[in-house]
């Protein structure tokens, strides 16, 4: 069993068009490294040069927004479901 990751439409260019990919790792950070090894370029889209999760991206582990659970240090395990989404916001 692995961790299932849902990929937003625009990032499917990195996953051969697949909506869902799977990976492994003990933390979100390790999972993203594993995904990047399989789908080159994915990490650059999610993690900034400073090594933080991009602020315009929302990542959920199961139903929890990782902003509230330790961001890239959030623990993940086999059977978890991870969802990546664009943040939708703005202002005048």
């Amino acid at each position: 069993m692995a961790i299932e990751v849902r990929i937003p439409t625009i990032l499917r260019t990195h996953t051969g068009g697949n909506k869902t990919v799977s990976g492994s790792g003990a933390t979100l950070s390790a999972l993203i490294d594993d995904l990047d090894a399989q789908h080159s370029g994915l990490k650059n889209r999610l993690v900034t040069e400073e090594g933080k999760l991009h602020r315009f991206v929302n990542v959920y582990v199961n139903d929890e927004d990782v902003r509230f659970t330790g961001a890239l240090d959030t623990q993940v395990k086999d059977g978890d479901s991870v969802t990546i989404l664009p943040a939708v916001a703005g202002g005048c």
Partner: protein, 161 residues
């Protein structure tokens, strides 16, 4: 070009009027991969602010799960400006150019800056404009309003015996 049906157009404008002076926001979903805005989904502005809007993070997840289950994507993401023109702000452009934001989205901006106390009255001046935002570049597009979306687009297939 954005082609949108009258009922959806009116629903977006009505939502903007209703939430004035706060910004209103929402999406119009359509079959994934198409340009057809078919299902109007007003969202709560979690910021409840006259100068900022955001989808609550849990609402966002629910919305995308639901669209995913129905093989839809957000054809239109709309929001209102309540004191400024219907043109994407720097913040709008920042979010729309985010690494997970799809540049195929139509960004609709509605401005209620002129309608003041006349909220909801016929004849209020509400601006409605649509934009593409790609890598920080904003380009306005034409908006075509069709009476009924389902019958408004071509080609239709006519089979003769």
């Amino acid at each position: 070009m954005l082609r949108i049906d009258r009922a959806t157009y009116d629903a977006i404008v009505a939502h903007a009027r209703e939430d004035h002076p706060d910004e209103a926001c929402g999406v119009v979903a359509g079959p994934e991969g198409t340009e057809r805005p078919e299902r109007f989904i007003p969202m709560l502005n979690a910021a409840r602010s006259p100068t900022f809007y955001e989808f609550d993070s849990a609402d966002l997840l629910r919305l995308y799960r639901e669209m995913d289950d129905r093989d839809e994507w957000p054809v239109v993401v709309y929001h209102s400006h309540t004191a400024t023109e219907a043109y994407p702000s720097r913040t709008d452009v920042g979010y729309a150019s985010g690494p997970a934001a799809d540049p195929r989205t139509h960004y609709v901006l509605v401005s209620t800056r002129h309608h003041e106390k006349q909220t909801g009255l016929v004849g209020d001046d509400v601006e409605f404009r649509s934009f593409r935002i790609v890598d920080g570049e904003v380009s306005e597009e034409e908006v075509e309003i069709v009476e009924s979306y389902l019958f408004g687009h071509s080609p239709t297939t006519v089979v003769y015996d």
